[in-house]
Assembly symmetry: C2
Homo-oligomer: 327 residues x 2
């Protein structure tokens, strides 16, 4: 089977609005530190009015992974919905400039391009308040044999389930994938997202997904487990390949009887954890798409995550991964 590209991402296309805040700011707006909350347009306007000066960068979880994958030299394509406004232009530019094939046209008329207010506290943790805007208009009609084509891996994010047609479009995408021998990967996005859609995720993991990328909290939420040991035990009943990140405890790769434990790298100073998991996925899937052994995939994921937490923003700049091949 010849694949058109190595990775196709389907996800919410978002521009991040990053600002440093103190803990009191999070208390004031009633945000749980480290969480992602969906907000509407009025709430977005109110929040932005309270925030200090910000920096704008393309973001979105799986979109970050796709950008990182392309940055590593992989071939990639992307399905996500932006409006033809200035933020949409920025989002598409940043993808295209890395060689990513944008499969949908920016919508002439829709809600504005989505933005996620990323509130970074002194410990480098980020709390996100996301206005989904145009993303909510991604629909089943956008998923066709033309737009999906025949990638080696298709990566969906859990956040897509927050879109009205999300579960249906994910199912359709998985069906097209099956007919092209495309591996279906699912990022669990965040544990609250898993809570919102647990049953539907469980079905998708059982019926459609080959690879699951997630942090341990997300896997706990999916399986109803409390610890990594309990989780590893529970995963014996699954056939999927799981890549589970555990912050400073590194990551563990699980596939049936295989268990690969990868330590985290030492970091002098964490600037901003935004995109750590997304970067891990980029490195891991790049290894997988290039038929590297799973040990090496885990190493590549760790390398990318280590790079991204030492900078502001969720995407590693081109050129910073030059020594990647010498690992």
């Amino acid at each position: 089977m010849t694949h058109s590209v190595q990775l196709l991402g389907i996800s919410n296309a978002i521009v991040d609005v990053l600002a440093h805040v103190d803990d009191d700011f999070l208390k004031d707006i009633g945000a749980v530190p480290g969480s992602m909350t969906l907000i509407d347009r009025d709430q977005a306007r109110e929040l932005y009015g309270k925030m200090g000066p910000a920096t704008e960068m393309s973001g979105g979880s799986v979109a970050n992974t796709v950008a990182g994958f392309a940055n590593l030299g992989g071939t990639a394509a992307y399905i996500g919905k932006v409006k033809a406004d200035q933020l949409g232009t920025i989002f598409n530019h940043d993808m295209r400039s890395l060689g990513v094939d944008i499969r949908l046209k920016a919508a002439a008329s829709s809600a504005p391009t989505a933005r996620s207010h990323v509130l970074i506290t002194d410990d480098g943790q980020r709390t996100m308040q996301t206005y989904l805007g145009a993303c909510l208009e991604l629909g089943v009609a956008d998923i066709t044999t033309d737009t999906v084509d025949s990638p080696k891996i298709m990566l969906l994010e859990g956040y897509v389930w927050d879109i009205a047609e999300g579960p249906a479009l994910a199912k359709k995408a998985a069906e097209i994938a099956r007919s092209n021998a495309t591996a279906v990967a699912l990022s669990l996005s965040d544990s609250f997202c898993v809570d919102r859609h647990r049953d539907s995720f469980a079905d998708f993991v059982r019926d459609d997904a080959d690879i699951i990328v997630a942090d341990e909290e997300e896997v706990f939420a999916l399986l109803g487990t409390d610890s990594i040991d309990e989780t590893l035990e529970a995963l014996k009943g699954y056939n999927n390949l799981f890549a589970i990140t555990r912050s400073e405890h590194g990551s563990v790769i699980v596939q049936k009887d295989v268990r690969i434990v990868q330590a985290a790298s030492k970091v002098d100073k964490i600037i901003d954890t935004t995109g750590a998991g997304d970067a891990y996925s980029a490195g891991f899937l790049f290894g997988w798409a290039n038929d590297r052994p799973l040990e090496e995939c885990a190493k590549l994921g760790t390398y990318c995550a280590t790079m991204v937490i030492q900078q502001l923003g969720a995407r590693i700049e081109p050129g910073l991964l030059d020594d990647f091949e010498s690992l």
Copy 2:
């Protein structure tokens, strides 16, 4: 005389689009390293299409100074033209969030908000390609006793002379300033800008400006001198207060017989020189507006410039200047 605010800036309101490039990229587009070139909308589109992923942040030379001044705790206001588009919203938000009083409404119908493509090379130097868009529509009619009010200092930038009505609006602003005992400060912007408008600048320095903030290349261009010694000699004929920055050679403050030499601070690694001069002006003018001795003004300017070159972007984040008062 009671002043409404300490500092009013009148300048081009610009959003920076920052990206790292290599030297070959600058050669390809025919840009002189370290220069600022004005480009039109088609050129902007073409350049952006060639650039890698970018980060967006509010910028503009004197706008950066105004933001920095407010960030230091000074009271500030701003006159500049943006369109009521997403980038204009970002520009105004970033100002207002620092407490800056925005004096003009965003234009409902105009060219898009200006953007400056800031191309950063490995040595931290920036080369700018600026599309002025809505800025070009700033006019004499925008300068009134209401919008100008009675600031302690009014700061204009040389780039304003690139606007069709720029010289006339600068003159009108200076006249209003005179009637309010407002000190008129002029930033010379860049040496190419001085070349473009030398005679008009010379008139403005002679007739209207009390304070000149500039780097030495700009002063050389204004006076037709070649060295700092020759420049200091030539300045004996001037009554203005000059604050002249000299990169790693520090700065020198000149006013009639007064000469104050301030050394630069040691910096481990320069990340991006964008905004170094603007930050110096913020610190210097903050000292001046608060009636500090000139030696201290120069120290404050140096402190701000030192902070800003150790980060990406032209504006120092709120909170980073906490130890400013302990200098």
